[in-house]
């Protein structure tokens, strides 16, 4: 089934492109913005397939890059759909800017609406929509693989727009597949990751940028004792391809790792501190409001501020229904669940590739604690 891939220049879109190239015979038409070139879009896809040992077997001519038309002139896409007999849209584009309402509306809602119109005009067989596991907002029950109705309490405007876009997809009349990954991290086998500093990478990057200037014997960190819902990029890619192949039309799939093996945010922070930051003592907080006002280290404060929203989201005890994923596993899906060990693989890769952290490790080795002491502030 030939596909129009929207967002192919992005991190997840690139993984999807790699999956479609390796696991299907589809022709992929990828509209790209002016800032990108065919080669800049193909480079990470090639690299992903090279790491999988598949690049030599892939005909990269199967992916065609075309200019993304202006938002008010989609006739060019109509022509492409006709010309290449496109039968499905795989929509991976969007904004993750948590509170930029205008951008979120344009990128997550308006664009989705336009693509659904396109799909309808051409009676496409399927619309694959990349959403988020957190599109329900905060709810006190497991997140089911169904549409979420009503206005729940949302961690960010982002989740609200994704929820609304899901409802547009479902109401469009076009057969659909909604894919909801949780927080995507690097490959479980070697830790490779080409995304931006989202999720856990935000904490690691904040440490790299803010706290490697000198050794700190005391760290203050917000880190709740709640499982952090991570999904490895290889698991995401395999599951999306399998979902396209095996799930019935009008399905929704939550892509989250098995909760019994998932580490808590606290354990992951401890793992990082024990192997990288190596302070003598850690003050652990559950939320920003618990943080002591007298912390005068501006960089430490910035790290706490910069990671506050994600810490807040991760403090909610998210639970997910994984019925569709179980079905896919039963059909042979290789889905590498995130565990403390596999996340360590990603952490080690990040650390190894960071000159700042490497310099920090070398310069401060004599000061490192064997095992940091921990002090708990606030009630879990």
């Amino acid at each position: 089934m030939n596909a129009l891939l929207i967002g192919g220049s992005g991190y997840l879109g690139g993984l999807v492109a790699a999956g479609l190239l390796s696991d299907t015979d589809s022709l992929i038409i990828a509209p790209i913005r002016g800032a990108h070139t065919r080669e800049s879009v193909l480079a990470p896809i090639r690299e992903e397939l090279r790491c999988e040992g598949l690049a030599d077997r892939i005909d990269f001519e199967r992916i065609l890059t075309v200019p993304l038309p202006d938002s008010d002139d989609w006739s060019a896409l109509d022509a492409l759909v006709e010309r290449y007999a496109i039968e499905q849209i795989v929509h991976c584009a969007g904004s993750v800017d948590y509170f930029n309402v205008a951008l979120l509306h344009e990128a997550n809602i308006v664009l989705t609406g336009r693509l659904l119109d396109l799909a309808r005009r051409h009676a496409m067989q399927r619309f694959v929509f990349l959403s988020t596991a957190f599109s329900s907002g905060y709810i006190d029950r497991p997140v089911r693989e169904e549409l979420h109705f009503g206005e729940g309490s949302d961690p960010t405007e982002y989740t609200k727009t994704k929820r609304y876009a899901e409802s547009l997809v479902a109401a469009s009349g076009v057969p659909y597949l909604i894919v909801r990954p949780s927080i995507v991290i690097g490959d479980s086998r070697d830790g490779r990751y080409s995304g931006k500093a989202y999720g856990l990478y935000q904490f690691w990057t904040a440490f790299e940028r803010l706290l490697t200037d000198r050794y700190r014997d005391v760290l203050h960190l917000i880190s709740p004792r709640v499982q952090l819902h991570l999904v490895h990029q290889n698991a995401f890619k395999n599951a999306l391809v399998a979902a396209c192949r095996y799930l019935p039309l009008d399905s929704i799939v939550n892509l989250t790792s098995r909760i019994d093996g998932l580490p808590t945010a606290r354990r992951l922070t401890q793992q990082f501190c024990e192997s990288v930051a190596r302070p003598q003592q850690i003050f652990f907080y559950n939320k920003l409001a618990d943080v002591r006002a007298e912390i005068t280290d501006r960089r430490m404060r910035m790290l706490l501020d910069f990671t506050a929203v994600n810490s807040e989201i991760s403090s909610h005890a998210w639970r997910f229904d994984n019925t569709a994923l179980r079905t896919l596993r039963a059909r042979g899906l290789q889905f590498a669940d995130a565990t403390l060990e596999t996340v360590l693989t990603c952490q080690n890769r990040f650390v190894a590739k960071s000159p700042r952290i490497q310099a920090y490790l070398t310069k401060n080795a004599d000061l490192f604690a064997a095992h940091p002491g921990t002090i708990e502030i606030g009630v879990a």
Partner: protein
């Protein structure tokens, strides 16, 4: 006061600093004159007049790690739109400038001409800081409206600013102790305070700064 007369032998690092400040301030004067004349203060005009007595620093900048990201930063705030100039140049770049000026005005590793120039610069940017909030309030608004405008207008600036980080550390950290993270810490603290006074939700503003400064 002529602080430039004995500045002919600034040394490469300080000449580079002056070249950067010349670009910031020249653009400020040009844009303020056309779009936000209230920010074209006597302090600012005096400062730019002094900076213009030296060569523009093209040679010092050429080929450095700062050349390309600085050019991109300048492009990101060059605009014929009042809101973009007011937010990008009047709010963000003035606070960044003030943090740089304050750091160098008291920096024992810097030369006397540089310290004097930076004291003038700090005063000029400090004056702008007192004027900008009222201008933002009257020309754009407060609270959510202003936050949306800031997110729209300042995002390109912050993205290009993020690209300057490694260059600033490479050029100024060893000799002057100026690090990009410390600089942005000062700027972020001031920005947050200004924005809170203008009714902006702290959590949302910090999330915006985070994503912009983390390259997201």
């Amino acid at each position: 006061m002529n602080v430039i007369t004995d500045s002919t032998d600034l040394g490469r690092d300080e000449a580079l600093l002056w070249a950067i400040l010349f670009r910031f301030e020249s653009l400020a004067v040009e844009q303020y004159a056309g779009l936000v004349p209230a920010l074209l203060t006597p302090e600012k005009q005096t400062l730019v007049a002094l900076l213009r007595t030296r060569p523009h620093g093209d040679e010092e900048l050429a080929g450095t790690q700062l050349e390309a990201p600085l050019a991109e930063l300048m492009r990101s705030v060059t605009s014929r739109d009042e809101a973009r100039v007011l937010i990008g140049q009047g709010l963000f770049l003035e606070l960044i400038g003030e943090a740089i000026y304050r750091s160098f005005s008291q920096n024992a590793a810097a030369s006397e001409p540089t310290r004097k120039l930076c004291a003038l610069g700090a005063a000029a940017s400090g004056r702008a800081r007192t004027l900008v909030p009222a201008l933002l309030r009257t020309r754009i608004g407060e609270g959510a409206v202003l936050l949306q405008a800031i997110m729209t207008e300042a995002a390109p600036l912050l993205r290009s600013l993020d690209d300057l980080g490694d260059g600033i550390d490479a050029m100024f950290l060893d000799r002057f102790g100026l690090s990009f993270a410390d600089l942005m810490g000062d700027v972020a603290a001031e920005l947050i305070a200004v924005c809170l006074d203008l009714g902006i939700d702290r959590r949302k503003f910090v999330a915006f700064l985070t994503s912009a400064l983390m390259g997201i």
